[in-house]
Subunit: 483 residues, 2 copies
């Protein structure tokens, strides 16, 4: 590509082409478009590009040299010299008016932030939920699946729903491991489950409508509802999951298999009550099965979708927890009547889906059995780490938290036994001790007692032990200071 | 993963666990969850999974065997036998109410379709715009860039804006080849430019607002506007591009560098008029620079963004045309005040952006100079093919079309010289002759004379020649039948 210069504009202001070029180059240096050290094109290149004689361009370079804007290195070329950038003069940036949707969404705190730690001089132990360590992913198997599809085909052959083979593989996976009876035509792939949840919310929720959300619950869903202008109604959760009521609403988001964040499993009677409610209210239930692929104990849990006889349940699943960090994939199982509207919505943003190569590779990985093998290995590992975390907490720090351990998932929810003030103190000292965890406050639609989500699956046993030792220390220091 | 069975529900209805298991398995076979040929788990596996004795499970398998649902192969296991699937009985699928956005979007024809051809017995020549043939992509250079980032880091380190290094590389690319002075912090990456355009439309356009669109123009933009409930106002286009007016609107979508689909370049005076209009109306201009990376002749064309002194222009670009088919990447250069709202909107759908690996690899590919070299090679090739296409059309078929050839891009716009009826006849016969092209009717917001977009960049010279020979044939046949 050639160096681009706004020569048209300059020719309107300058009589000769070479003076236009001179001013265009000088202004580009002033504006910082051409930064210090940039090698200018040869006189021949520039002359041919702007239909001038080489002599004219050489004259311009001499003028710039004389002015001190450039320097010439014999045999190497002409280089931009100093930092001459000057600020734009007095032009005001426009204040742009947003749509009501834009106003709502820009007030939301949707962006992920990573917590910073001031302690630099010790190894930090981070109980936030993380992806698996790279060492536990079957990289060579995955690369071989990638290579197999790399060779096969370069052309597009997928609509907005995503790769047909992967949708078949997911349908079969759901039949076998979840008892969900769905056709590949009902499955739509997303770049992570949030894309699906946000599109579904837009598709279903009119402005001002009441929408039922679990409290505590995943804040991403609350954001999606708020962006549509929906009114989030918090529904209480206990050790059996969401407590059904006869809500005056047409939309419910729920995590029946493993409530987020508490880990509670929704009882069968409550499942039936939810479905009866949906039938009575002509409502839709969006079931988010975000992490129950990892189940090391107890019975396999029945997704709500299995009991759904009226096609009122949308099942949302994800591979983002089970694959490598750079891999983002979610999906939804839709009632047949919603497939066309959702595809129309998705195609508006992505007429051709991204990451088709990875979708095809995952289909191969699944059909070869590699995905299930990988899940089994990880599940065993995570089960051991879960047991170890619980054991160490009971052993080292029995007083501070009431844990809600479970049979699945990547984190443990634990409520704080002390006062809110005491929790703040504990949290601050823990950070000073070099141990981090997720304050579950952000999952509360309405304020509740302090609680913590402890991610354990990415940590080695020694790290878990040392982390809990530091928590113990923080707990002792924070309670001691009360005396 | 174990075979999942809804045993909870069955235990409510059956007195004994083994009868519950029998009915659960039988119903799963009826429902098609267990398809013909499926190998059932061993009695030991199932017994351990559901906390039963092996004898009980063996008894259940014997019952199923007696009923003819399964067959046993000694030493190999027990297999599901027939196709017993029965349809769900009388349960009605719910009719789900959509939001106003959902209603609008499901009426849009957003999904890409590929045209089918009935002619099977001859090689088809397809003048639709396609991606480059795989042979012209520097695959080994790209793989080496991919491998370099594969090794470097597995963890997330990017917000919703996308990989920081790639945003730096794009900022530098835009400075050098386009004269756009933008900071990496103003650049947001998308999975294709349509994601950016749709999010920007949602962010900016309130329901009922007038939005100015070029006519003819890209229908994806019209869809994005319609989905928001905006009222698309068509603006006429001539050989100098869009004809400015004092529209009563706050949003304008425009393709100044190379009008889509006509290829016209917007004159400097009109550019200034558009910016003055935006300033007067407090409007935003979205500049879509969809394919001018490929420029083989004439001057580099000045993006509107370069003249923008009030930060009213949003520049949208794309790599989807220049990279391999499975690669989808677009970006926008935003006024600083729009960065936060757009990131909040994007993070709602994608808290972690997909395809980070590919983003990092592209950054590497660009910083190593591979991307520019690739563009130069392709540009030379496409320029030759453009010239050849024009020459063949002039030579073989001078009467049927008036071409608007240009200095850039991947297609030529050509208006039909005959009647609308004659065009339909021509199109049908051309298809029968095994040659396809894109009818430009879909780009017309309000009906106009027939026109065609001829993609040429993906075709070898012999294919172009043969395709035009067939067009000639179709033209002769369609005009002959008038006599």
């Amino acid at each position: 590509m050639e160096l681009w210069l706004p020569l048209d504009s300059y020719e309107h202001q300058h009589r000769y082409k070479y003076t236009a070029l001179y001013h265009a180059l000088r202004d580009a240096i002033h504006a910082g478009t051409l930064v210090e050290g940039t090698r200018l094109p040869s006189t021949r290149e520039l002359a041919s590009q702007y239909d001038m004689s080489r002599g004219s361009v050489a004259q311009v370079y001499d003028m710039l040299l004389a002015d001190g804007y450039v320097e010439a290195h014999r045999g190497r070329g002409t280089f931009v010299k100093g930092a001459f950038r000057i600020e734009a003069q007095g032009e005001q940036e426009a204040v742009i008016q947003l749509s009501p949707w834009g106003e709502r969404v820009s007030r939301l705190d949707t962006q992920k932030r990573t917590e910073s730690v001031s302690v630099q001089d010790r190894h930090i132990i981070d109980f936030h939920v993380h992806r698996m360590p790279a060492g536990h992913f079957p990289t060579s198997e995955w690369k071989s699946a990638l290579a197999a599809v790399h060779r096969s085909d370069w052309r597009e052959q997928s609509g907005a729903a995503g790769d047909p083979e992967l949708r078949e593989a997911i349908a079969s996976h759901l039949r076998w491991t979840r008892g969900i009876q769905a056709d590949a035509s009902q499955i739509v792939l997303f770049s992570g489950s949030m894309q699906g949840i946000t599109l579904l919310a837009q598709l279903l929720i009119p402005e001002g409508a009441q929408v039922i959300l679990e409290n505590p619950g995943y804040q991403g869903i609350a954001h999606a509802v708020n962006a549509c202008g929906g009114r989030a109604v918090p529904a209480a959760v206990d050790s059996q999951g969401i407590i059904p009521e006869d809500w005056n609403a047409q939309t419910l988001f729920v995590t029946p298999t493993r409530q987020f964040p508490t880990g509670a499993v929704l009882g069968l009677d409550r499942r039936k009550t939810l479905l009866a409610w949906a039938s009575k209210r002509n409502a839709v239930i969006i079931e988010d099965d975000y992490d129950s692929e990892f189940r090391w104990g107890g019975r396999p849990i029945e997704p709500l979708k299995v009991l759904d006889r009226e096609q009122r349940v949308i099942y949302v699943g994800s591979f983002s927890q089970t694959m490598i960090a750079s891999f983002r994939l979610g999906y939804a199982v839709l009632p047949p009547g919603l497939v066309q509207p959702l595809l129309a919505a998705k195609a508006l943003y992505e007429p051709v889906p991204p990451a088709l190569l990875e979708q095809r590779a995952l289909a191969k990985f699944m059909s070869r059995g590699g995905y299930l093998r990988h899940l089994r290995r990880l599940t065993r590992l995570y089960g051991e780490r879960h047991a170890f975390f619980v054991q160490e907490m009971v052993h080292q720090l029995p007083e501070a938290f009431t844990m809600q351990p479970g049979d699945a998932g990547l984190h443990i929810y634990a409520t704080w036994n002390g006062s809110p003030d005491g929790f703040l103190k504990f949290k601050t000292i823990a950070k000073e001790e070099g141990v981090l965890f997720r304050d579950a406050e952000r999952y509360q639609l309405i304020p509740g007692p302090p609680a913590v989500c402890f991610g354990f699956a990415h940590l080695e046993k020694e790290e878990i032990k040392e982390g809990i030792r530091r928590l113990r220390l923080a707990w002792e220091k924070s309670t001691f200071s009360f005396h």
